[in-house]
C-alpha cells in the first residue's frame, strides 16, 4: 500500500538505496549481537575477505553488463592465486607474464563468444574445467607463498579506519567513474542494453565485448592477488565459491541479468554484505548445518524487498 503511493522517482531512489540499507541493517544486527565486533580490529577481521570477493564480484559485473554470465570466475581466481603463489616471490617476471596471459585468455573468450555467437554459460563452464585443471597441474597440493609486497599491501594498517573499507571505497569509486561516468563506459554498457543501436552507431561489438571480458579477467587477477596476500598460501580450490558469491553480489547490488543495468558501487556493497553474512551467522550461533541455508534465505529476503519496492514501476 505504501509502496503504491510512492511516486516513480522515489521508488527508483529506494531501489538504489537498497544495497546500502541491507548492509547497514546487517552491520547494526552484528553490533547488537556482538558489541565487541565494533572496533577497528573486529571490523578488519570480519571484512578481511571482502576485498577479494568485491574484486571478483566486479569481474562478474563486467560480464553481466554485456548480457553474459561467467561461471568460471571462481576457478580462475584460484588459478591466479596458484600462479602468484608459485612465481611472484621468486620469478616475478614469469609470474607477471603468466597473469597477463590469463587476461589475454579472457579477452579471447569474449571474442569467441561474440564471433561464434555462443552461449556464455557453456563456454565459461568449459573454461572453469580448464582453469581448475591448469591450477591442479601447477600446484597439486596447497602451497606456494605470497610475495612480500602483496602480503604487506593487504595488511596495511591505517590509523582509525579498517583497511578493507578504504580499499573497497577506492575500488568502487574507480569502477563507478570509469564505467558509469565516461563516454566509452556508456558504449560498453550499451553493448548489453541495446547491441543493435551500438553497432549501428559504428562501434564494434566485438571490441566492446573483448574490452569487457578483458576487464573481467583483470579484476579476476586482482582478486587472486589480494586473496593470496591475505592467505599467504595458494590452493587450486581456494576460490571455488566465488562464482556463486560474485553472481549473488551483483544481483544483491541492484544489477539485472539483461540490459546492461549494473551498479559498481552496489556490486561492492553486495559483496561486502555477503562477506559479513557469514560472520553474522556465526554470532547468531546458527548450527553449521543451516549456515548455507541461512545465506540463501538472506538472499531471498533482500530480493523479496526489492520486488516489493519496484512493483508497479517494472512494467
Amino acid at each position: 500500500m505504501a509502496a503504491q503511493a510512492l511516486p516513480r522517482l522515489d521508488r527508483e531512489l529506494l531501489r538504489r538505496a537498497l544495497p546500502a540499507v541491507t548492509l547497514a541493517v546487517l552491520l547494526i544486527a552484528i553490533f547488537v549481537k556482538q558489541p565487541l565486533a565494533m572496533s577497528q580490529f573486529g571490523l578488519t577481521l570480519m571484512l578481511q575477505y571482502a576485498v577479494p570477493i568485491a574484486l571478483a564480484t566486479l569481474a562478474q559485473m563486467f560480464v553481466i553488463a554485456v548480457n553474459d554470465l561467467d561461471l568460471s570466475i571462481g576457478s580462475f581466481v584460484g588459478l591466479t592465486t596458484c600462479i602468484a603463489g608459485l612465481y611472484l616471490p621468486t620469478m616475478p617476471l614469469v609470474g607477471i607474464l603468466l597473469l597477463l596471459l590469463c587476461i589475454a585468455a579472457y579477452v579471447a573468450m569474449g571474442a569467441l563468444i561474440q564471433l561464434r555467437n555462443l552461449p556464455s554459460i557453456v563456454v565459461t563452464l568449459g573454461m572453469s574445467f580448464v582453469w581448475g585443471g591448469l591450477a591442479v597441474l601447477l600446484l597439486p597440493t596447497p602451497g606456494g607463498k605470497a610475495a612480500v609486497w602483496l602480503h604487506d599491501l593487504m595488511n596495511v594498517k591505517i590509523p582509525g579506519v579498517p583497511f578493507p573499507i578504504v580499499a573497497a571505497i577506492v575500488i568502487a569509486a574507480v569502477v563507478q567513474i570509469g564505467l558509469m561516468h565516461s563516454s566509452y563506459g556508456v558504449v560498453l554498457r550499451g553493448t548489453g542494453g541495446n547491441p543493435k543501436a551500438v553497432a549501428r552507431a559504428g562501434w564494434s561489438l566485438l571490441k566492446t565485448k573483448m574490452v569487457m571480458f578483458g576487464l573481467a579477467g583483470t579484476f579476476g587477477v586482482l582478486s587472486g592477488l589480494s586473496l593470496i596476500g591475505l592467505t599467504s598460501a595458494a590452493d587450486a580450490h581456494i576460490a571455488d565459491r566465488y562464482t556463486l558469491y560474485s553472481i549473488a553480489g551483483v544481483i544483491l547490488g541492484g544489477g539485472e541479468f539483461i540490459g546492461g543495468r549494473v551498479s559498481p558501487v552496489g556490486a561492492v556493497l553486495g559483496a561486502i554484505t555477503l562477506a559479513l553474512a557469514g560472520s553474522f551467522l556465526i554470532f547468531l550461533r546458527i548450527s553449521p548445518d543451516w549456515q548455507i541455508g541461512a545465506q540463501g534465505a538472506i538472499l531471498i529476503i533482500v530480493l523479496a524487498l526489492r520486488a516489493v519496492i519496484t512493483r508497479g514501476s517494472a512494467r
Partner: protein
C-alpha cells in the same frame, strides 16, 4: 536415402553421437579392443543419471532465455537421502520411500517457481538460493550417516542383461516418451512457444504460467528420480552426490543441441552428449592422463564442440 542422410547430418544432435563414437573408438584402439564392451556398459549406466537430470534441465532451458535450474544437485542429494531414510533398508518400504522423495521434489520445484513468479527473482538466483536451503535441509536431515539402499533397489539399479543395464533400458524408454511429449503434445509445443516469445504465446492463449510451473516441478521431480537411482547404484546417499550434475546437466543439454536461448529442445542429443562426456573421461583415464590434464582436455573439448557445431544464427 541420401536425402534422409543429409537431414540427419543437419540435425543438431547428431554430432554428440559422432563425438561419443569417436572417443570410444580412440579408447579401444589404445587398449587394442580390450574392455570395449565393459566400457559401453559403464557408459550406459552412468549416462542414465545425467540423461534424467539433463532432460529436466532441457525442459527448463527451453522455456526461454535466463531459465535454468541450479537447484538440481541439492535436490538430488535431498531426495536420495529422504528416500533411503524412509526405505530404512527394507524392501517393503521402497514404494513409500519413492513417494516421499517425489513429495520432496515437488515441494522444491513449487518453491523455485514461487520465488520466480511472485518475488520476480531471476531463475538463476532463485534456484541458486533455493539450492542453499535444500542443501542445508539435506545436511540437517542426514547428519552424515550413510544408509544402505534396500537389497531389491540395489539389485535393480546395478543389474544388467548381456551388458545392457536395466536402468539404461528404462531411461531410453523414458527419453522416447519425452521426445514424443516435447515434439507432439500441446505441452511440448507450448513450452517451445513460450521460449521463443512468451508474450506471443500468452496472447495465443497458452497458459504460460501454468506450464512454467509444471516445468520447474518436472525438473525437480526428475532430480528426485535421479537421486533415488543414484543412491541405490552407489550403495547409499552422500552429501556431495549431486555436485557433479550442476555442470553435467547444463553441458549435456547444450552439447546435445538444445538452444540456450530457449524455444528449441533436442531429446536424443542429451543421450549422445551424456555418453560423450563419460567416454571422454574414460578415454583420458585410459591414456593415463593426470587429473589436471583430464580437466583441461574436458573443458577445451566441450568448448571446441560447441564452437564447431556453431551458435545460433541471428536470423530472428
Amino acid at each position: 536415402m541420401t536425402a534422409a542422410l543429409r537431414r540427419l547430418g543437419q540435425a543438431p544432435w547428431i554430432w554428440s553421437f559422432v563425438g561419443a563414437a569417436a572417443v570410444w573408438l580412440a579408447t579401444i584402439a589404445f587398449t587394442r579392443g580390450q574392455g570395449a564392451g565393459e566400457i559401453v556398459t559403464a557408459a550406459l549406466s552412468f549416462a542414465c543419471f545425467t540423461v534424467i537430470v539433463g532432460t529436466g534441465q532441457m525442459l527448463v532451458i527451453t522455456t526461454g532465455p535466463g531459465n535454468v535450474d541450479l537447484s538440481i544437485p541439492a535436490t538430488i542429494t535431498l531426495c536420495g537421502t529422504v528416500a533411503m531414510k524412509v526405505m530404512n533398508e527394507q524392501d517393503s518400504l521402497i514404494a513409500l520411500g519413492i513417494l516421499a522423495a517425489f513429495a520432496a521434489g515437488a515441494v522444491v520445484g513449487s518453491l523455485n517457481y514461487a520465488l520466480i513468479r511472485f518475488l520476480r527473482i531471476p531463475p538463476i538466483i532463485a534456484t541458486l538460493s533455493m539450492s542453499f536451503l535444500v542443501q542445508s535441509s539435506a545436511i540437517a536431515y542426514n547428519r552424515g550417516l550413510r544408509i544402505k539402499p534396500p537389497s531389491l533397489l540395489d539389485a535393480f539399479t546395478t543389474g544388467d542383461t548381456w551388458g545392457v543395464p536395466w536402468i539404461a533400458v528404462l531411461t531410453i524408454l523414458f527419453s522416447v516418451a519425452v521426445g514424443i511429449v516435447v515434439g507432439r503434445s500441446y505441452y511440448g509445443r507450448a513450452i517451445s512457444a513460450i521460449g521463443q516469445n512468451a508474450r506471443a504465446a500468452w496472447l495465443a492463449n497458452v497458459p504460460v504460467e501454468r506450464f512454467r510451473y509444471l516445468t520447474y516441478v518436472a525438473s525437480a521431480m526428475l532430480a528426485a528420480i535421479c537421486g533415488i537411482l543414484l543412491a541405490g547404484f552407489s550403495g547409499g546417499p552422500a552429501l556431495d552426490m549431486g555436485s557433479e550434475y550442476l555442470l553435467g546437466s547444463i553441458a549435456v543439454v547444450v552439447i546435445g543441441g538444445t538452444s540456450v536461448a530457449g524455444g528449441r529442445a533436442s531429446v536424443p542429443g542429451i543421450w549422445g552428449a551424456a555418453l560423450f562426456m563419460f567416454l571422454l573421461v574414460t578415454m583420458l583415464n585410459t591414456f593415463g592422463a593426470s587429473a589436471g590434464i583430464r580437466l583441461v582436455a574436458t573443458g577445451l573439448i566441450i568448448i571446441a564442440v560447441i564452437a564447431i557445431a556453431g551458435g545460433e544464427r541471428q536470423s530472428r
